[in-house]
Point group: C2
Chain length 393, copies 2
């Protein structure tokens, strides 16, 4: 069964509460048999429960179903270069608990892992008040191997290589654990509870400390041949430019990422080019972050505004290249840096319109994620729920 079908059906129940098989079939334009099979599987797996009967126009009494909110909870952990966000959701995708831990640049792998475990334990304890945890997802930037549950490399976390997340978290949550790339996890969240539920071919751009992308083709998340797709952060935007964390030159991430913006801001602050940034950093230039640059820009700091606009311009070029290549119906802009607001987003959108072929751009819908910084954590939990919703074959 295609995961798109299941995701659409669960979304329908989330929006409408109760529904019959024919309600779902009519609303989603899916074959009656496809819907019946998917609903049977969801009922067998405990995610849907019978909710009485309703007379149809033809006088037959049809079974109603609804989501079984107390069936189980799902944990989502988003381990990024600057934070760990843990959330606990129920089967209705309502957030029951949330824990955040800020990572200072250069923090050791052991401490990060220890914090991750501690957050997982805290959410597991919190879940005991409502329901068992049926599944957990953890996402990290960079390359992952979902089969082994391994994080292979996250270039933006110093020393992070071959971290066996499934093994590490086994003691802290006994639920099945899924490992995914952060940007793809954000894509999953947008597909399940975001704005692209009914789209088949779309992209979710994840602008944070690094820049990544989730790509959906034919309604399914596209992983690539070795689960390494979506590396838009390594689009060449400055030929012969500076060296990137990946070892190549001129990548988007060298000029337009949370990391690049922070580094450029620190350099500028050192030269005395922004008093607001110096105030925000309380004089300690090395702690200036992209978030500080966003704050400064929104306070009217010209240098900070310039940095965000320049970054947005580069992001728009890389995005235009991807849009020209894949002709998606929707692009969603998400990730922590979207908090910078219009200053950044307008320049992304301007560059996108400037460099995307006219015929492709005019059919494209561009939007900003409504999931905020929790998007990847929510998507990680959704991954676990999605897996629990599909038939085991």
């Amino acid at each position: 069964m295609r995961s798109q079908t299941t995701a659409l059906i669960l979304s329908h129940f989330r929006e409408h509460g109760t529904a019959t098989r024919s309600d779902v079939s009519a609303a989603l334009g899916l074959h009656a048999k496809t819907v019946a099979n998917a609903i049977n599987t969801l009922r067998d797996n405990g995610l849907l429960v019978p909710a009485g009967r309703r007379k149809s126009d033809a006088g037959r009494r049809q079974e109603l179903f609804s989501i079984n909110g107390s069936h189980g909870n799902y944990m989502g952990l988003d381990l990024g270069a600057t934070h760990i966000i843990g959330i606990l959701v129920d089967a209705n995708c309502s957030v029951l608990d949330r824990v955040v831990f800020d990572i200072r640049p250069g923090l050791g792998v052991e401490i990060i892992v220890s914090q991750l475990k501690s957050i997982a334990r805290r959410l597991a304890a919190s879940s005991q008040r409502t329901a068992v945890i049926r599944g957990a997802g953890v996402c990290v930037p960079g390359f992952v191997d979902p089969r082994s549950g391994m994080s292979i490399v996250a270039e933006n976390i110093v020393g992070w290589r071959n971290v066996h997340l499934r093994e590490i978290l086994a003691a802290d949550t006994t639920a099945p654990l899924f490992v995914e790339d952060s940007s793809r996890a954000l894509g999953v969240a947008e597909r399940w509870v975001g704005s692209v539920r009914h789209a088949s071919d779309f992209m979710v751009l994840d602008i944070g400390y690094g820049v990544g992308m989730a790509i959906y083709t034919g309604g399914e998340l596209y992983g690539g041949t070795n689960h390494k797709s979506g590396e838009i952060g390594h689009t060449v935007v400055v030929p012969d430019g500076g060296v990137c964390a990946c070892g190549k030159r001129g990548c988007l991430e060298t000029v337009a990422s949370g990391r690049a913006i922070a580094l450029d801001a620190r350099a500028a602050a050192r030269e005395g080019r922004s008093s607001i940034l110096m105030d925000l950093a309380q004089g300690d230039v090395d702690t200036i972050s992209a978030a500080d640059v966003s704050v400064a820009a929104n306070m009217g700091d010209p240098l900070a505004g310039e940095l965000l606009r320049a970054a947005g311009g580069y992001i728009g070029i890389a995005l235009a290249n991807a849009v020209n290549l894949l002709n998606p119906s929707h692009v969603v802009l998400g990730g922590g840096l979207t908090n910078a607001g219009a200053i950044l987003l307008d320049s992304v959108s301007e560059a996108l319109s400037l460099h995307t072929m006219t015929e492709i751009f005019k059919e494209l819908q561009l939007s900003v994620s409504g999931l905020g910084v929790d998007g990847s954590a929510i998507g990680s939990a959704m991954l676990a729920m999605l897996s629990a919703s599909l038939p085991t074959d």
Copy 2:
């Protein structure tokens, strides 16, 4: 039924002559039922015929099948900026006839259409010697609407807009007519009779007068939301660069395409920088083509070599961006400009390795199409054959 299954099964029969259902199932690693269904459909549609029986190890007599070479022929027409290539193939994909017409730059739409019709008639007449034509495909660069059979725009053919190819060719071939983009047609040919028969996630780069790409995800040709995917020729490689035929600035096609190479070569020849090119053009600078540049480069002309190397470098950057985004298992380089040989291809490959993330590049297989200039025409015929091979539902 997925077209990948049908394509793989037909390829198996092409390679092995006769085979039983279990031969095919074992060779391709497909479920027995999937293979049985596909073979039944192919037999019902007349593409496969019974070819006797063979005793299995268990002593049962199993049905053999083979391709019905005389069932019907397929016509493929490739209308490019510089040529029309028409081919006629039988169900074994053997080429029965081939017609080529060179298009001079600036030739009017009416004359081109008239030549296209005349080639279709010639191939239809030629087919009468062997079998009926069961289907025809025609490909053009740019945006097409396969449903209506319309070529919407081909920027590299002056004045070419909203040309209703299906209607135009209706009188010249009564077979069902399929319209596709040239680069996607090349991808279909590579998938069916080329080097990527067993790959699921791959790209075929079509380097010709323009530059386009066929993208396969999950074993299926990816069209995009409005059938406009694959526009890698409009990747931004020169920020604030020259104006492209598409109206945008700095696109790959402005610096690395048959068109760009020819224009650069003419400018250089005018400045007296290449005597070999002047000789090839017999003094008429405006007729210098990218093919002339290839010939000159292979004769050791330094300027021509420099033009091809520079173009290859840009193509490699755009290709690296696409590979980083999609993590394909294979990239095939095809299209007319690959005739330029090692001078161009080595620089594509060098730039690709320089700009693709190390972990992605080391798992990538790069090859050059063996189909030559006929690739898109063959793919157009294959599209028609593929459609005749699938169940009508």
